[in-house]
Symmetry: C2
Subunit: 285 residues, 2 copies
Protein backbone atom coordinates (compact mmCIF):
# COMPACT_ATOMS: atom_id res chain seq x y z
CA UNK A 1 0.00 0.00 0.00
CA UNK A 2 1.57 3.27 -1.10
CA UNK A 3 1.26 6.32 1.15
CA UNK A 4 -1.27 8.99 0.16
CA UNK A 5 0.18 12.25 -1.17
CA UNK A 6 -1.29 15.50 0.12
CA UNK A 7 -2.46 17.67 -2.79
CA UNK A 8 -4.01 20.59 -0.88
CA UNK A 9 -4.50 21.92 2.63
CA UNK A 10 -6.86 24.71 3.69
CA UNK A 11 -7.32 25.95 7.22
CA UNK A 12 -10.97 25.78 8.26
CA UNK A 13 -12.54 26.45 11.65
CA UNK A 14 -9.15 26.14 13.29
CA UNK A 15 -8.37 22.75 11.71
CA UNK A 16 -7.41 21.74 8.17
CA UNK A 17 -9.13 20.22 5.15
CA UNK A 18 -6.37 18.04 3.69
CA UNK A 19 -6.91 16.46 0.30
CA UNK A 20 -4.93 13.35 -0.66
CA UNK A 21 -4.29 11.24 -3.76
CA UNK A 22 -3.35 7.58 -3.58
CA UNK A 23 -3.22 4.48 -5.73
CA UNK A 24 -6.11 2.22 -4.76
CA UNK A 25 -5.46 -1.52 -4.86
CA UNK A 26 -9.14 -2.47 -4.63
CA UNK A 27 -10.20 -0.17 -7.46
CA UNK A 28 -7.05 -0.29 -9.60
CA UNK A 29 -6.79 3.46 -10.12
CA UNK A 30 -5.74 6.68 -8.45
CA UNK A 31 -8.26 8.02 -5.98
CA UNK A 32 -8.66 11.24 -4.02
CA UNK A 33 -10.17 11.75 -0.59
CA UNK A 34 -10.29 14.65 1.85
CA UNK A 35 -9.86 14.53 5.62
CA UNK A 36 -10.92 17.34 7.92
CA UNK A 37 -8.60 17.34 10.91
CA UNK A 38 -10.12 19.36 13.77
CA UNK A 39 -7.86 21.71 15.74
CA UNK A 40 -7.73 19.19 18.59
CA UNK A 41 -5.48 16.95 16.45
CA UNK A 42 -2.66 19.42 16.19
CA UNK A 43 -3.19 21.35 19.41
CA UNK A 44 -3.58 18.50 21.83
CA UNK A 45 -1.72 15.69 20.10
CA UNK A 46 -4.58 13.39 20.99
CA UNK A 47 -6.42 10.97 18.75
CA UNK A 48 -9.88 11.99 17.64
CA UNK A 49 -12.87 9.91 16.51
CA UNK A 50 -13.88 9.81 12.84
CA UNK A 51 -17.01 10.19 10.76
CA UNK A 52 -17.04 8.75 7.24
CA UNK A 53 -19.19 10.78 4.84
CA UNK A 54 -20.37 8.98 1.69
CA UNK A 55 -21.47 11.25 -1.15
CA UNK A 56 -24.25 10.95 -3.67
CA UNK A 57 -24.44 10.41 -7.42
CA UNK A 58 -22.11 12.60 -9.54
CA UNK A 59 -20.22 13.86 -6.47
CA UNK A 60 -16.49 13.69 -5.76
CA UNK A 61 -14.79 14.05 -2.37
CA UNK A 62 -15.09 17.83 -2.70
CA UNK A 63 -18.83 18.64 -2.63
CA UNK A 64 -19.31 17.80 1.04
CA UNK A 65 -16.08 19.51 2.06
CA UNK A 66 -16.94 22.73 0.21
CA UNK A 67 -20.66 23.00 0.82
CA UNK A 68 -21.90 21.16 3.90
CA UNK A 69 -20.44 23.33 6.68
CA UNK A 70 -19.90 20.13 8.72
CA UNK A 71 -16.44 21.28 9.78
CA UNK A 72 -17.85 23.88 12.19
CA UNK A 73 -19.32 21.30 14.57
CA UNK A 74 -16.54 18.77 13.84
CA UNK A 75 -14.09 21.44 14.99
CA UNK A 76 -16.14 22.12 18.12
CA UNK A 77 -16.52 18.46 19.07
CA UNK A 78 -13.01 17.42 18.00
CA UNK A 79 -14.02 14.89 15.38
CA UNK A 80 -12.25 14.12 12.09
CA UNK A 81 -14.28 13.80 8.87
CA UNK A 82 -13.27 11.74 5.86
CA UNK A 83 -14.91 12.25 2.48
CA UNK A 84 -13.98 9.62 -0.14
CA UNK A 85 -14.78 9.80 -3.84
CA UNK A 86 -17.83 7.94 -5.20
CA UNK A 87 -16.36 5.53 -7.78
CA UNK A 88 -13.19 4.55 -9.63
CA UNK A 89 -12.15 7.14 -12.21
CA UNK A 90 -9.98 7.23 -15.30
CA UNK A 91 -10.05 3.50 -16.06
CA UNK A 92 -11.47 4.01 -19.54
CA UNK A 93 -14.06 1.24 -19.33
CA UNK A 94 -16.28 1.66 -22.43
CA UNK A 95 -19.45 3.53 -21.47
CA UNK A 96 -18.23 4.35 -17.94
CA UNK A 97 -19.18 8.02 -18.35
CA UNK A 98 -22.29 7.65 -20.52
CA UNK A 99 -24.74 8.07 -17.62
CA UNK A 100 -24.72 10.30 -14.57
CA UNK A 101 -26.29 7.49 -12.53
CA UNK A 102 -24.05 4.57 -13.52
CA UNK A 103 -20.29 4.09 -13.82
CA UNK A 104 -18.12 7.10 -13.00
CA UNK A 105 -19.50 8.96 -9.98
CA UNK A 106 -22.00 6.20 -9.25
CA UNK A 107 -20.25 3.37 -7.40
CA UNK A 108 -23.21 2.64 -5.10
CA UNK A 109 -20.86 1.30 -2.38
CA UNK A 110 -21.05 -2.30 -3.62
CA UNK A 111 -18.58 -4.78 -5.12
CA UNK A 112 -19.48 -5.44 -8.76
CA UNK A 113 -19.58 -9.07 -9.85
CA UNK A 114 -20.20 -8.42 -13.56
CA UNK A 115 -16.79 -8.82 -15.24
CA UNK A 116 -16.90 -5.57 -17.19
CA UNK A 117 -17.23 -3.52 -13.96
CA UNK A 118 -14.78 -5.58 -11.91
CA UNK A 119 -13.00 -2.43 -10.71
CA UNK A 120 -16.18 -1.04 -9.14
CA UNK A 121 -15.43 -2.31 -5.61
CA UNK A 122 -16.46 0.70 -3.54
CA UNK A 123 -17.74 -1.53 -0.70
CA UNK A 124 -14.28 -3.03 -0.25
CA UNK A 125 -12.68 0.38 -0.67
CA UNK A 126 -14.81 2.00 2.05
CA UNK A 127 -14.88 -0.87 4.53
CA UNK A 128 -11.36 -2.29 4.14
CA UNK A 129 -8.84 -0.38 2.06
CA UNK A 130 -9.62 3.13 3.30
CA UNK A 131 -9.75 2.24 7.02
CA UNK A 132 -6.43 0.35 6.66
CA UNK A 133 -4.87 3.26 4.81
CA UNK A 134 -6.10 5.75 7.40
CA UNK A 135 -4.82 3.54 10.19
CA UNK A 136 -1.35 3.19 8.61
CA UNK A 137 -0.95 6.85 7.76
CA UNK A 138 -3.00 8.77 10.31
CA UNK A 139 -3.25 6.24 13.15
CA UNK A 140 -1.48 8.69 15.44
CA UNK A 141 -4.16 11.32 14.81
CA UNK A 142 -7.36 9.34 14.31
CA UNK A 143 -8.84 6.63 16.53
CA UNK A 144 -10.14 4.29 13.83
CA UNK A 145 -11.87 2.19 16.46
CA UNK A 146 -14.24 5.06 17.27
CA UNK A 147 -16.04 5.78 14.02
CA UNK A 148 -19.44 6.61 12.59
CA UNK A 149 -20.80 6.65 9.05
CA UNK A 150 -23.13 9.04 7.31
CA UNK A 151 -24.08 9.97 3.76
CA UNK A 152 -26.43 11.64 1.31
CA UNK A 153 -28.71 10.04 -1.30
CA UNK A 154 -26.64 7.20 -2.91
CA UNK A 155 -24.25 7.82 -0.02
CA UNK A 156 -27.11 7.61 2.47
CA UNK A 157 -27.81 4.16 1.03
CA UNK A 158 -24.07 3.52 1.41
CA UNK A 159 -24.00 4.71 5.03
CA UNK A 160 -26.96 2.60 6.15
CA UNK A 161 -25.89 -0.57 4.32
CA UNK A 162 -22.20 -0.28 5.23
CA UNK A 163 -23.16 0.53 8.84
CA UNK A 164 -25.63 -2.33 9.23
CA UNK A 165 -23.25 -4.85 7.64
CA UNK A 166 -20.37 -3.80 9.92
CA UNK A 167 -21.82 -3.19 13.37
CA UNK A 168 -18.45 -3.64 15.09
CA UNK A 169 -16.84 -0.92 12.99
CA UNK A 170 -19.28 1.93 13.55
CA UNK A 171 -20.97 3.40 16.62
CA UNK A 172 -23.75 5.23 14.80
CA UNK A 173 -25.26 5.78 11.35
CA UNK A 174 -27.01 8.75 9.80
CA UNK A 175 -28.33 9.61 6.37
CA UNK A 176 -29.73 12.59 4.51
CA UNK A 177 -32.27 11.70 1.83
CA UNK A 178 -30.96 8.14 1.46
CA UNK A 179 -31.98 5.69 -1.27
CA UNK A 180 -33.73 3.34 1.14
CA UNK A 181 -34.97 0.49 -1.01
CA UNK A 182 -32.89 0.23 -4.21
CA UNK A 183 -34.18 -3.28 -5.03
CA UNK A 184 -37.79 -2.09 -5.33
CA UNK A 185 -39.43 -1.55 -8.70
CA UNK A 186 -40.05 2.09 -7.75
CA UNK A 187 -36.31 2.79 -7.73
CA UNK A 188 -34.94 2.95 -11.30
CA UNK A 189 -31.53 4.11 -9.94
CA UNK A 190 -31.18 0.90 -7.92
CA UNK A 191 -32.44 -1.37 -10.68
CA UNK A 192 -30.02 0.14 -13.18
CA UNK A 193 -27.02 0.04 -10.85
CA UNK A 194 -27.62 -3.41 -9.38
CA UNK A 195 -28.40 -4.97 -12.78
CA UNK A 196 -25.28 -3.41 -14.23
CA UNK A 197 -22.88 -4.22 -11.40
CA UNK A 198 -24.41 -7.42 -9.97
CA UNK A 199 -26.37 -8.95 -12.88
CA UNK A 200 -29.83 -10.44 -12.63
CA UNK A 201 -29.46 -12.36 -9.36
CA UNK A 202 -31.87 -10.43 -7.18
CA UNK A 203 -30.83 -12.33 -4.07
CA UNK A 204 -27.39 -10.71 -4.36
CA UNK A 205 -29.04 -7.30 -4.65
CA UNK A 206 -30.69 -7.73 -1.25
CA UNK A 207 -27.29 -7.73 0.44
CA UNK A 208 -27.16 -4.02 -0.35
CA UNK A 209 -30.68 -2.85 0.41
CA UNK A 210 -31.23 -0.96 3.68
CA UNK A 211 -34.79 -2.24 4.05
CA UNK A 212 -33.69 -5.85 3.63
CA UNK A 213 -30.74 -5.44 5.99
CA UNK A 214 -32.74 -3.79 8.74
CA UNK A 215 -35.28 -6.63 8.61
CA UNK A 216 -32.49 -9.20 9.00
CA UNK A 217 -30.53 -7.32 11.62
CA UNK A 218 -29.28 -9.37 14.58
CA UNK A 219 -27.83 -7.98 17.77
CA UNK A 220 -28.14 -4.56 19.33
CA UNK A 221 -29.32 -1.91 16.87
CA UNK A 222 -26.92 0.89 15.93
CA UNK A 223 -28.36 4.35 16.52
CA UNK A 224 -29.77 5.55 13.17
CA UNK A 225 -30.86 9.08 12.26
CA UNK A 226 -32.45 9.88 8.88
CA UNK A 227 -33.53 13.29 7.56
CA UNK A 228 -35.64 13.61 4.40
CA UNK A 229 -36.91 16.78 2.72
CA UNK A 230 -40.60 16.76 1.82
CA UNK A 231 -39.97 18.77 -1.38
CA UNK A 232 -37.28 16.41 -2.67
CA UNK A 233 -37.74 15.81 -6.42
CA UNK A 234 -36.47 12.26 -6.00
CA UNK A 235 -38.76 11.26 -3.15
CA UNK A 236 -40.41 8.48 -5.18
CA UNK A 237 -37.02 6.77 -5.67
CA UNK A 238 -35.79 7.38 -2.12
CA UNK A 239 -38.72 5.71 -0.32
CA UNK A 240 -38.19 6.68 3.31
CA UNK A 241 -41.62 5.19 4.09
CA UNK A 242 -40.31 1.73 3.15
CA UNK A 243 -37.45 2.11 5.59
CA UNK A 244 -39.89 3.19 8.28
CA UNK A 245 -42.09 0.14 7.69
CA UNK A 246 -39.10 -2.23 7.62
CA UNK A 247 -37.71 -0.77 10.86
CA UNK A 248 -41.09 -1.03 12.53
CA UNK A 249 -41.54 -4.65 11.43
CA UNK A 250 -38.06 -5.47 12.71
CA UNK A 251 -38.54 -3.44 15.89
CA UNK A 252 -35.36 -1.57 14.98
CA UNK A 253 -35.58 1.94 16.46
CA UNK A 254 -34.84 4.67 13.92
CA UNK A 255 -35.25 8.40 14.07
CA UNK A 256 -36.75 9.44 10.70
CA UNK A 257 -37.57 13.12 10.33
CA UNK A 258 -39.51 14.59 7.42
CA UNK A 259 -38.31 18.15 6.89
CA UNK A 260 -41.06 20.29 5.42
CA UNK A 261 -40.19 22.08 2.15
CA UNK A 262 -36.56 20.97 1.81
CA UNK A 263 -35.23 19.58 -1.46
CA UNK A 264 -32.36 17.23 -2.39
CA UNK A 265 -29.58 19.85 -2.52
CA UNK A 266 -26.66 20.79 -0.31
CA UNK A 267 -28.88 23.60 1.04
CA UNK A 268 -30.89 20.82 2.69
CA UNK A 269 -27.72 19.05 3.89
CA UNK A 270 -26.16 22.16 5.42
CA UNK A 271 -29.45 23.07 7.14
CA UNK A 272 -29.32 19.85 9.17
CA UNK A 273 -25.64 18.91 9.24
CA UNK A 274 -25.15 20.30 12.77
CA UNK A 275 -27.79 17.90 14.08
CA UNK A 276 -26.01 14.99 12.41
CA UNK A 277 -22.58 15.86 13.76
CA UNK A 278 -24.05 16.34 17.25
CA UNK A 279 -25.87 12.99 16.96
CA UNK A 280 -22.63 11.18 16.11
CA UNK A 281 -20.62 13.15 18.69
CA UNK A 282 -22.90 11.76 21.41
CA UNK A 283 -22.20 8.19 20.30
CA UNK A 284 -18.48 8.69 19.64
CA UNK A 285 -17.73 9.83 23.19
Amino acid sequence: MSAPVQISANKHFGGYNRRFRHKSTSLGCEMTFTIYFPPAVEAQAKKVPLIYYLSGLTCTDENFIQKSGAQQKASEFGIALVAPDTSPRGLGVPGEADSWDFGVGAGFYINATVEKWKNWRMYEYITEELPALLSSNFGDKIDLGTAAVMGHSMGGHGAITVGLKNPGKFRSISALAPICNPTSLECPWGTKAFTGYLGDNREAWKEHDSCELIRRHKGPPLPLLVDQGSADNFLSQLQPESLEVAAKDAQYPIQLRMQEGYDHSYFFISSFIDDHIEFHAKHLK
Copy 2:
Protein backbone atom coordinates in the same frame (compact mmCIF):
# COMPACT_ATOMS: atom_id res chain seq x y z
CA MET B 1 -37.55 48.62 -15.07
CA SER B 2 -38.74 45.05 -15.76
CA ALA B 3 -39.51 42.78 -12.82
CA PRO B 4 -36.96 40.10 -11.95
CA VAL B 5 -37.97 36.53 -12.79
CA GLN B 6 -37.32 33.85 -10.18
CA ILE B 7 -35.21 31.03 -11.66
CA SER B 8 -34.70 28.86 -8.57
CA ALA B 9 -35.73 28.57 -4.93
CA ASN B 10 -34.14 26.31 -2.32
CA LYS B 11 -35.20 26.13 1.30
CA HIS B 12 -32.25 26.79 3.62
CA PHE B 13 -32.20 27.17 7.39
CA GLY B 14 -35.94 27.73 7.40
CA GLY B 15 -35.80 30.49 4.77
CA TYR B 16 -35.24 30.44 1.02
CA ASN B 17 -32.39 31.16 -1.38
CA ARG B 18 -34.22 32.69 -4.33
CA ARG B 19 -32.28 33.31 -7.54
CA PHE B 20 -33.53 35.91 -10.02
CA ARG B 21 -32.77 37.03 -13.58
CA HIS B 22 -33.49 40.53 -14.80
CA LYS B 23 -32.58 42.90 -17.59
CA SER B 24 -30.18 45.51 -16.22
CA THR B 25 -30.50 49.01 -17.60
CA SER B 26 -27.18 50.23 -16.22
CA LEU B 27 -25.22 47.27 -17.63
CA GLY B 28 -27.25 46.64 -20.78
CA CYS B 29 -27.50 42.88 -20.30
CA GLU B 30 -29.32 40.19 -18.36
CA MET B 31 -28.05 39.74 -14.82
CA THR B 32 -28.66 37.21 -12.07
CA PHE B 33 -28.67 37.75 -8.33
CA THR B 34 -29.69 35.67 -5.34
CA ILE B 35 -31.56 36.80 -2.23
CA TYR B 36 -31.67 34.81 0.96
CA PHE B 37 -34.98 35.49 2.67
CA PRO B 38 -34.84 34.45 6.33
CA PRO B 39 -37.83 32.59 7.82
CA ALA B 40 -38.92 35.81 9.56
CA VAL B 41 -40.00 37.21 6.19
CA GLU B 42 -42.66 34.62 5.53
CA ALA B 43 -43.54 33.67 9.09
CA GLN B 44 -43.97 37.11 10.59
CA ALA B 45 -44.84 39.23 7.57
CA LYS B 46 -42.44 41.86 8.84
CA LYS B 47 -39.71 43.65 6.93
CA VAL B 48 -36.16 42.57 7.60
CA PRO B 49 -32.85 44.42 7.21
CA LEU B 50 -30.47 43.56 4.37
CA ILE B 51 -26.79 42.79 3.90
CA TYR B 52 -25.30 43.21 0.41
CA TYR B 53 -22.48 40.72 -0.26
CA LEU B 54 -20.06 41.65 -3.05
CA SER B 55 -18.06 38.74 -4.48
CA GLY B 56 -14.49 38.47 -5.66
CA LEU B 57 -12.81 37.99 -9.04
CA THR B 58 -14.22 35.14 -11.20
CA CYS B 59 -17.24 34.71 -8.91
CA THR B 60 -20.93 34.83 -9.80
CA ASP B 61 -23.84 35.33 -7.43
CA GLU B 62 -23.68 31.63 -6.55
CA ASN B 63 -20.33 31.11 -4.77
CA PHE B 64 -21.29 32.93 -1.60
CA ILE B 65 -24.76 31.40 -1.51
CA GLN B 66 -23.44 27.84 -1.91
CA LYS B 67 -20.28 27.95 0.18
CA SER B 68 -20.25 30.66 2.85
CA GLY B 69 -22.80 29.27 5.31
CA ALA B 70 -23.92 32.86 5.99
CA GLN B 71 -27.57 31.84 5.87
CA GLN B 72 -27.38 30.10 9.25
CA LYS B 73 -26.85 33.32 11.21
CA ALA B 74 -28.95 35.39 8.77
CA SER B 75 -31.80 33.01 9.55
CA GLU B 76 -31.19 33.33 13.28
CA PHE B 77 -31.00 37.15 13.26
CA GLY B 78 -33.76 37.64 10.67
CA ILE B 79 -31.63 39.40 8.05
CA ALA B 80 -31.92 39.12 4.26
CA LEU B 81 -28.76 38.66 2.16
CA VAL B 82 -28.38 39.74 -1.44
CA ALA B 83 -25.57 38.42 -3.62
CA PRO B 84 -25.24 40.14 -7.01
CA ASP B 85 -23.04 39.00 -9.89
CA THR B 86 -19.59 40.59 -10.39
CA SER B 87 -19.79 42.10 -13.90
CA PRO B 88 -21.89 42.32 -17.04
CA ARG B 89 -21.98 39.07 -19.01
CA GLY B 90 -22.77 38.00 -22.54
CA LEU B 91 -22.17 41.37 -24.21
CA GLY B 92 -19.52 39.97 -26.54
CA VAL B 93 -17.06 42.86 -26.11
CA PRO B 94 -13.84 41.72 -27.84
CA GLY B 95 -11.42 40.39 -25.21
CA GLU B 96 -13.97 40.50 -22.38
CA ALA B 97 -13.16 36.93 -21.33
CA ASP B 98 -9.44 36.85 -22.11
CA SER B 99 -8.34 37.41 -18.49
CA TRP B 100 -9.71 36.11 -15.22
CA ASP B 101 -8.92 39.46 -13.58
CA PHE B 102 -10.42 41.86 -16.15
CA GLY B 103 -13.71 42.03 -18.03
CA VAL B 104 -16.20 39.24 -17.34
CA GLY B 105 -16.25 38.37 -13.63
CA ALA B 106 -14.07 41.37 -12.76
CA GLY B 107 -16.23 44.50 -12.62
CA PHE B 108 -14.39 46.01 -9.63
CA TYR B 109 -17.56 47.91 -8.56
CA ILE B 110 -16.67 51.02 -10.56
CA ASN B 111 -18.21 52.84 -13.54
CA ALA B 112 -15.89 52.52 -16.54
CA THR B 113 -15.15 55.71 -18.48
CA VAL B 114 -13.16 54.08 -21.30
CA GLU B 115 -15.58 53.81 -24.23
CA LYS B 116 -14.91 50.15 -24.99
CA TRP B 117 -15.99 49.12 -21.48
CA LYS B 118 -18.93 51.51 -21.21
CA ASN B 119 -21.24 48.73 -20.00
CA TRP B 120 -19.03 48.03 -16.98
CA ARG B 121 -21.02 50.15 -14.52
CA MET B 122 -21.07 47.92 -11.47
CA TYR B 123 -20.90 50.90 -9.10
CA GLU B 124 -24.15 52.27 -10.48
CA TYR B 125 -25.67 48.79 -10.56
CA ILE B 126 -24.89 48.12 -6.88
CA THR B 127 -25.63 51.57 -5.46
CA GLU B 128 -28.61 52.60 -7.61
CA GLU B 129 -30.21 50.06 -9.88
CA LEU B 130 -30.19 47.08 -7.53
CA PRO B 131 -31.50 48.98 -4.47
CA ALA B 132 -34.29 50.49 -6.61
CA LEU B 133 -35.14 47.09 -8.05
CA LEU B 134 -35.19 45.50 -4.59
CA SER B 135 -37.35 48.31 -3.28
CA SER B 136 -39.87 48.00 -6.12
CA ASN B 137 -40.13 44.25 -6.02
CA PHE B 138 -39.38 43.24 -2.45
CA GLY B 139 -40.11 46.44 -0.54
CA ASP B 140 -42.80 44.64 1.44
CA LYS B 141 -40.25 42.09 2.69
CA ILE B 142 -36.99 44.04 2.95
CA ASP B 143 -36.37 47.33 4.73
CA LEU B 144 -33.95 48.91 2.23
CA GLY B 145 -33.29 51.75 4.65
CA THR B 146 -31.60 49.37 7.09
CA ALA B 147 -28.72 47.88 5.14
CA ALA B 148 -25.08 46.87 5.48
CA VAL B 149 -22.44 45.94 2.91
CA MET B 150 -19.75 43.29 2.98
CA GLY B 151 -17.53 41.49 0.50
CA HIS B 152 -14.51 39.34 -0.26
CA SER B 153 -11.29 40.28 -2.10
CA MET B 154 -12.38 42.44 -5.10
CA GLY B 155 -15.76 42.49 -3.34
CA GLY B 156 -14.09 43.56 -0.08
CA HIS B 157 -12.69 46.51 -2.02
CA GLY B 158 -16.22 47.01 -3.34
CA ALA B 159 -17.80 46.87 0.12
CA ILE B 160 -15.41 49.38 1.69
CA THR B 161 -15.47 51.86 -1.20
CA VAL B 162 -19.22 51.62 -1.77
CA GLY B 163 -19.82 51.89 1.98
CA LEU B 164 -17.55 54.89 2.50
CA LYS B 165 -18.96 56.72 -0.52
CA ASN B 166 -22.56 56.18 0.61
CA PRO B 167 -22.64 56.61 4.40
CA GLY B 168 -26.36 57.34 4.44
CA LYS B 169 -27.17 54.06 2.71
CA PHE B 170 -25.34 51.63 4.96
CA ARG B 171 -25.10 51.16 8.73
CA SER B 172 -21.92 49.06 8.74
CA ILE B 173 -19.20 47.67 6.45
CA SER B 174 -17.16 44.48 6.61
CA ALA B 175 -14.65 42.80 4.37
CA LEU B 176 -12.81 39.50 4.11
CA ALA B 177 -9.37 39.76 2.54
CA PRO B 178 -10.21 43.01 0.71
CA ILE B 179 -8.05 44.65 -1.97
CA CYS B 180 -7.26 47.68 0.21
CA ASN B 181 -5.11 49.87 -1.99
CA PRO B 182 -5.74 49.14 -5.69
CA THR B 183 -4.02 52.33 -6.86
CA SER B 184 -0.66 51.31 -5.36
CA LEU B 185 2.15 49.95 -7.50
CA GLU B 186 2.11 46.77 -5.43
CA CYS B 187 -1.36 45.88 -6.70
CA PRO B 188 -1.21 44.67 -10.32
CA TRP B 189 -4.92 43.74 -10.16
CA GLY B 190 -5.85 47.34 -9.41
CA THR B 191 -3.49 48.83 -11.99
CA LYS B 192 -4.81 46.54 -14.70
CA ALA B 193 -8.48 47.12 -13.88
CA PHE B 194 -8.30 50.88 -13.32
CA THR B 195 -6.14 51.47 -16.41
CA GLY B 196 -8.54 49.38 -18.47
CA TYR B 197 -11.79 50.80 -17.18
CA LEU B 198 -10.78 54.37 -16.21
CA GLY B 199 -7.76 55.14 -18.39
CA ASP B 200 -4.59 56.85 -17.21
CA ASN B 201 -6.11 59.59 -15.04
CA ARG B 202 -4.86 58.48 -11.64
CA GLU B 203 -6.95 61.10 -9.83
CA ALA B 204 -10.08 59.27 -11.03
CA TRP B 205 -8.63 56.01 -9.67
CA LYS B 206 -8.45 57.46 -6.16
CA GLU B 207 -12.25 57.72 -6.03
CA HIS B 208 -12.26 53.94 -5.75
CA ASP B 209 -9.40 53.24 -3.37
CA SER B 210 -10.31 52.36 0.24
CA CYS B 211 -7.12 53.90 1.62
CA GLU B 212 -7.75 57.19 -0.18
CA LEU B 213 -11.41 57.28 0.83
CA ILE B 214 -10.76 56.55 4.48
CA ARG B 215 -8.22 59.41 4.60
CA ARG B 216 -10.77 61.82 3.12
CA HIS B 217 -13.72 60.62 5.19
CA LYS B 218 -15.89 63.32 6.73
CA GLY B 219 -18.57 62.79 9.33
CA PRO B 220 -19.12 59.96 11.76
CA PRO B 221 -17.23 56.82 10.79
CA LEU B 222 -19.22 53.75 9.78
CA PRO B 223 -18.33 50.66 11.83
CA LEU B 224 -15.78 48.66 9.78
CA LEU B 225 -14.63 45.07 10.40
CA VAL B 226 -11.89 43.46 8.27
CA ASP B 227 -10.56 39.89 8.49
CA GLN B 228 -7.42 38.83 6.65
CA GLY B 229 -5.76 35.40 6.56
CA SER B 230 -2.02 35.39 7.20
CA ALA B 231 -1.45 32.53 4.73
CA ASP B 232 -3.27 34.29 1.88
CA ASN B 233 -1.35 33.84 -1.39
CA PHE B 234 -2.46 37.30 -2.52
CA LEU B 235 -1.42 39.17 0.61
CA SER B 236 1.05 41.37 -1.28
CA GLN B 237 -1.75 42.68 -3.52
CA LEU B 238 -4.32 43.01 -0.72
CA GLN B 239 -2.25 45.26 1.55
CA PRO B 240 -4.24 45.33 4.79
CA GLU B 241 -1.30 47.16 6.41
CA SER B 242 -1.93 50.15 4.13
CA LEU B 243 -5.55 50.30 5.23
CA GLU B 244 -4.45 50.13 8.85
CA VAL B 245 -2.01 53.04 8.37
CA ALA B 246 -4.58 55.13 6.49
CA ALA B 247 -7.22 54.53 9.15
CA LYS B 248 -4.77 55.43 11.90
CA ASP B 249 -3.72 58.62 10.10
CA ALA B 250 -7.36 59.58 9.64
CA GLN B 251 -8.31 58.53 13.17
CA TYR B 252 -10.96 56.30 11.63
CA PRO B 253 -11.56 53.35 13.97
CA ILE B 254 -11.39 50.00 12.21
CA GLN B 255 -11.28 46.46 13.54
CA LEU B 256 -8.65 44.63 11.47
CA ARG B 257 -7.97 41.06 12.48
CA MET B 258 -5.12 38.95 11.08
CA GLN B 259 -6.22 35.31 11.13
CA GLU B 260 -3.24 33.02 11.52
CA GLY B 261 -2.85 30.35 8.82
CA TYR B 262 -5.96 31.12 6.78
CA ASP B 263 -5.81 31.46 2.98
CA HIS B 264 -7.95 33.29 0.38
CA SER B 265 -10.58 30.58 -0.10
CA TYR B 266 -14.19 30.13 0.95
CA PHE B 267 -12.86 27.95 3.77
CA PHE B 268 -11.52 31.20 5.25
CA ILE B 269 -14.78 33.02 4.57
CA SER B 270 -16.99 30.37 6.15
CA SER B 271 -14.72 30.17 9.21
CA PHE B 272 -15.44 33.82 10.05
CA ILE B 273 -18.80 34.52 8.39
CA ASP B 274 -20.71 34.12 11.66
CA ASP B 275 -18.67 36.95 13.19
CA HIS B 276 -19.47 39.20 10.22
CA ILE B 277 -23.21 38.52 10.29
CA GLU B 278 -23.26 39.12 14.06
CA PHE B 279 -21.29 42.35 13.60
CA HIS B 280 -23.81 43.65 11.08
CA ALA B 281 -26.80 42.38 13.08
CA LYS B 282 -25.70 44.56 15.98
CA HIS B 283 -25.69 47.66 13.75
CA LEU B 284 -28.87 46.78 11.85
CA LYS B 285 -31.03 46.61 14.95
